[in-house]
């Protein structure tokens, strides 16, 4: 049997978990992350494959995601999908699949009473899918519906975020929605899926993670049950350095809606592999920590002005986990982007909100983080990041991500690095990597032509409040924000019906 080998980042050191407390420390083989906890009645499994939407052939965008759906929501050679459901149901277990840009992750949490039966089923789902035509039709239709109905017509925030992603990575392997394009999905055949699985679901591309109440011998059993996977992996595609936006390159998606959703950003040259990432993580937390009131964007746009529900910033791709707050593990990427998410604002305040975000970012770049704020933010991140790994599955996911970047898991890296970091280093990293010009902007709104004219004309957009008692210092800032220069603006308008078509 060929042993599983993780070859994603050739030449980089394997992850270690040395700085976790002893209770959490686990053994790390090069392809396997094992975090045993004999007290736990639960076992978390993660199978991370080095294949993602970047591997979609041109014209068949969505193939990687559809293949992962055929694994996680389809039958096996032995059992049809309805039989799989009947077997998983009494365990209250599932094999959850998610296809991201660079990896596909399958996982589940199961009570150890059911571990043996679960393991047999899920390894068969991964290694020997049924590829039933009826599963294919169902799952392809679901994907087409997701792109053409849910994304276009049922969630403006997601629509804005995906528009930004696609625009950031034009003519690049990252440049389409992971679930696919409408035309791409319609052109995929069942044979395409079979062939993709055969070539891309290979042992050298697979990394296994097990945490909780499983014996060590369990790992060997999993490896044995995945033995039929190919021993030869397909190399991931090259990812060229994405083009740098010039000025403000705005895409307006026009649709009927009651408020305007905005996302903006630009490609970054750093990832968790780079030292500057950790300095930027502090700056980002100060500017816009996700779903907290710590960020300046949140405090100033929502707190002081009541513009919307929330405003956040990110220094790597951020996928929200339902209602939860913490970053989802196992979405590693060789290329990252900086982005700001402005949640829906009233139409008449959209440009003011955009200007406000740029003004806030500019203040960070020009003025840096004050020393006291730096200390507070560093302290916050050191404590807060420990909450990201409260469950077995999350702890496992973070440990596995460390290997991708040739680093320890993110929580350990932050714990090691932040105490040594200075405000000066953070501010220098900010000036090296962040900027207010050279930005892609995605806006989902109703009256695109009027918005286009305002943006291209760099027209002042003073804010009028329908609330009383706005403090004088806020009103003074408002005057600056209302005329914050929008330089070198180019605008294209896309009707929502055309989004993600091909």
């Amino acid at each position: 049997m060929t042993r599983l080998a993780w070859t994603v980042v050739a030449g980089l050191a394997a992850s270690t978990l040395a700085s976790f407390p002893p209770a959490l420390a686990g053994e790390e083989k090069e392809a396997v992350t094992y975090l045993p906890s004999s007290a736990s009645p639960l076992v978390a499994l993660r199978f991370v494959l080095r294949v993602g939407s970047q591997d979609d052939p041109k014209g068949k965008e969505g193939l990687a995601a559809l293949t992962s759906a055929m694994v996680a929501e389809g039958g096996t050679k032995e059992f049809a999908y309805d039989e799989i459901l009947k077997k998983l149901y009494p365990m209250a277990a599932s094999l959850d699949g998610a296809c991201h840009k660079e990896v596909t992750v399958f996982g589940g949490v199961v009570h150890r009473d059911n571990l043996a039966a679960y393991e047999k089923l899920v390894t068969a789902m991964i290694a020997t899918p049924r590829f039933a035509p009826e599963d294919f039709e169902r799952l392809r239709s679901e994907a087409v519906d997701y792109v053409s109905k849910t994304l276009r017509g049922g969630n403006d925030e997601e629509l804005g975020k995906w528009t930004l992603q696609v625009e950031l990575y034009k003519d690049h392997p990252y440049g389409h929605v992971d679930r696919g394009t409408v035309a791409g999905l319609k052109s995929i055949t069942l044979d395409d899926v079979k062939a993709f699985h055969k070539t891309h679901y290979a042992k050298p591309a697979l990394r296994l993670g097990v945490a909780g109440g499983a014996e060590k011998g369990f790992l060997t059993r999993v490896e044995t049950d995945l033995a039929s996977l190919s021993g030869k992996a397909v190399a991931p595609p090259e990812v060229p350095r994405p083009g740098r936006p010039k000025g403000l390159e705005v895409t307006i998606v026009e649709k009927p809606c009651e408020s305007t959703a905005i996302s903006l950003g630009f490609p970054l040259d750093i990832t968790r592999h780079d030292d500057d990432f950790y300095a930027l993580a502090v700056a980002d937390s100060y500017l816009g920590e996700h779903r907290t009131f710590n960020g300046k964007l949140m405090q100033d746009l929502r707190g002081k002005r009541g513009l919307n529900y929330g405003d956040y910033s990110y220094v790597e791709d951020f996928i929200q986990d339902g209602q939860s707050t913490f970053p989802v593990p196992n979405n590693p990427r060789r290329q990252q982007a900086f982005s700001i998410w402005i949640r829906p604002v009233p139409h008449d305040k959209a440009v003011f909100a955009l200007r406000g975000a740029l003004w806030e970012l500019n203040r960070l770049i020009e003025g840096g983080i004050p020393e006291a704020e730096f200390e507070a933010t560093r302290s916050f991140l050191l404590n807060y990041s420990k909450l990201w790994v409260q469950t077995l599955s999350r702890r496992l996911g973070y440990a596995m991500d460390g290997a991708f970047y040739g680093r320890k898991d993110l929580v350990t890296e932050l714990a090691d690095r932040l105490p040594k970091l200075t405000a000066k280093q953070v501010n220098e990293a900010v000036r090296r990597h962040l900027k207010v010009s050279g930005m892609k902007v995605a806006i989902v709104t109703r009256d695109a032509q009027a918005l286009k004219a305002t943006l291209e004309g760099n027209k002042p957009t003073p804010i009028t409040y329908d609330t009383q008692g706005t403090p004088e210092d806020v009103l003074v800032e408002d005057k600056q924000i209302a005329v914050y220069p929008l330089k070198d603006v180019t605008v294209k308008i896309v009707p929502v019906e055309a989004m993600f078509e091909k």
Binding site: A23, P41, D82, L85, Y89, P90, M91, A92, A93, V109, V110, H111, N114, E134, R138, S141, D145, S148, K149, R152, G153, G154, N155, D156, L159, K255, P256, C257, E258, S259, A261, T292, F293, R302, G303, K304, R305, G306, L307, N308, Y309, G310, G322, Q323, F326, R343, P344, V345, A376, L382, N383, Y384, S385, L387, Q390, L392, T467, Q468, G469, P471
Partner: protein
């Protein structure tokens, strides 16, 4: 901060985590595997600790048994949720910036949410921060102070929250279901409130003081601390900081919903292509597991609509006319709804889907469920609960949900004991009792025809 709302459709994905309806540790007697300790201060404040292995971390929850259910005054729907936002606006001792700075220094994960029945303030912090958590939480619950300008700005953040949800068809589906199914009870409006009332919130500063005075009182609240905590230490701190909190005496009469006597319906249009949706609601009793119908309805939802049900397998897997099929005996403090949501690929299939659903319910009333299948459902419910209690936060939430619905911290044990007792005849009985067309509300949504 805040600001998760327990809308019903969002609930489908959360349901078994947030209801205290999920199952654990596979012991027959007590599904909730952790010992709890409970004390009550002289002012009525209840304090519950749930110590278990959670090295260095605690979840600190404050449960206020007030939700949108309590909004009896006309024009003031959504106020419980709005007030949840205001609770982050500070006190004299800890103005908003200082309160946030304390949380930031602790690295706290802190937030709040409001549902139909309760408002929950929660934070996950290092166990060593317990004294600080008690201090800042007791301070804001007793000494909240905000000015009208802050109040008005926050009202507009709430409108922003409404707007962010409005691009999804589920908001209007929920609003319409509640508006149609209820004529009298306050469940007629969703937690975020009628849009007209949300828009008018900046004008209700004076009422906000009444609201705080009425509901933010010790006898209406419970502190739950789960994880690395000692009950004795907790009580020493709580007595010191919450002991002076004055008991209230307010109550409002929440009008009972009269029996529904005719089918009700509404047809909605969506301006863009969308999956055609059928949303059915049937009145059921309040979610107290002492009523055996509650467990039986929970089993019925799984039996008729779960992923292994014949209906799901036929509509979703075989014919593929339906993309989503879910049902829930919605857990509420007062009499509630059993809801069924089906999303069909084509609008012209909706009538057939409805007929098939009604036939499946009629069949469940006529034919007893196979015992093997009944056992599989019971296993599913228990293991699902076991998988849900993975963190201090999840454990505190389970106890909080139980209190919110029943005023008892251990109703999940009663519920799972009741599940264990459900017989095929019980499932038949509830299928016969609740699904008459005179008890039915039907909401459909489909795309507007192309112009």
């Amino acid at each position: 901060m805040a600001l998760r709302i327990g809308w019903r459709v969002a609930f489908f994905s959360l349901a078994l985590l947030t209801l205290g309806l999920s199952g654990s540790a596979l012991g027959e007697d007590r599904i909730f595997p952790y010992p709890t300790r409970e004390s009550r201060l002289g002012n009525g404040l209840r304090v519950i600790s749930v110590p278990f292995e959670s090295p260095g971390i605690i979840a600190y929850y404050t449960v206020v048994r007030t939700g949108s259910r309590n909004e009896v005054e006309k024009g003031l729907s959504g106020f419980a949720h709005f007030f949840e936002h205001m609770m982050f606006r500070g006190t004299e001792k800890y103005p908003q910036d200082k309160y946030n700075a304390v949380l930031k220094a602790l690295g706290a994960d802190s937030n709040a949410f409001t549902t139909d029945d309760w408002t929950c303030y929660h934070m996950t912090v290092p166990a060593s921060a317990l004294p600080k958590a008690v201090e800042i939480e007791s301070d804001r619950f007793q000494n909240l102070k905000y000015n009208e300008a802050d109040f008005q700005k926050e009202a507009r953040a709430v409108l922003g929250e409404y707007n962010k949800g409005a691009s999804s068809p589920f908001l209007i589906l929920d609003e319409t279901m509640q508006d149609k199914a209820y004529t009298t009870h306050t469940y007629k409006h969703t937690t975020i409130g009628f849009l007209a009332d949300v828009k008018d919130m900046p004008n209700q500063y004076a009422y906000s003081k009444t609201f705080f005075d009425r509901w933010y009182r010790p006898e209406n609240c419970t502190i739950i601390v789960a994880g690395d905590v000692s009950h004795e230490r907790l009580m020493t701190l709580v007595e010191k900081d919450y002991g002076g909190w004055k008991r209230g005496n307010a109550s409002v009469e929440i009008p009972a919903e009269p029996e529904q006597k005719e089918e009700r319906s509404a047809k909605l249009k969506w301006p863009l292509p969308t999956l055609a949706t059928l949303y059915l609601g049937y009145h059921i009793p309040a979610s107290d597991p002492r009523n055996p119908d509650i467990a039986a309805l929970g089993v019925l939802a799984q039996a008729v609509f779960g992923e292994t049900s014949p209906l799901y397998q036929k509509l979703v897997l075989e014919e593929q006319s339906v993309v989503m099929l879910v049902a829930s005996a919605d857990p509420r403090r007062d009499p509630s709804l059993f809801t069924i949501l089906a999303r069909a690929r084509e609008a012209d299939k909706v009538a057939d889907v409805r007929k098939r659903i009604e036939n499946a319910l009629a069949d469940a009333a006529k034919t007893p469920i196979d015992r093997t299948r009944l056992e599989a459902i019971k296993d599913h419910l228990r293991y699902e609960y076991a998988g849900s209690l993975q963190s201090a936060d999840a454990v505190a939430l389970a106890v909080g949900s139980s209190i919110a619905l029943t005023d008892r911290p251990d109703a999940m044990n009663e519920l799972y004991a009741a599940y264990a007792r459900v017989t095929p005849a019980d499932v038949q009985r509830v299928a016969q009792r609740y699904f008459a067309s005179t008890n039915e509300t039907v909401v459909t949504l489909e795309s507007e025809p192309k112009k």
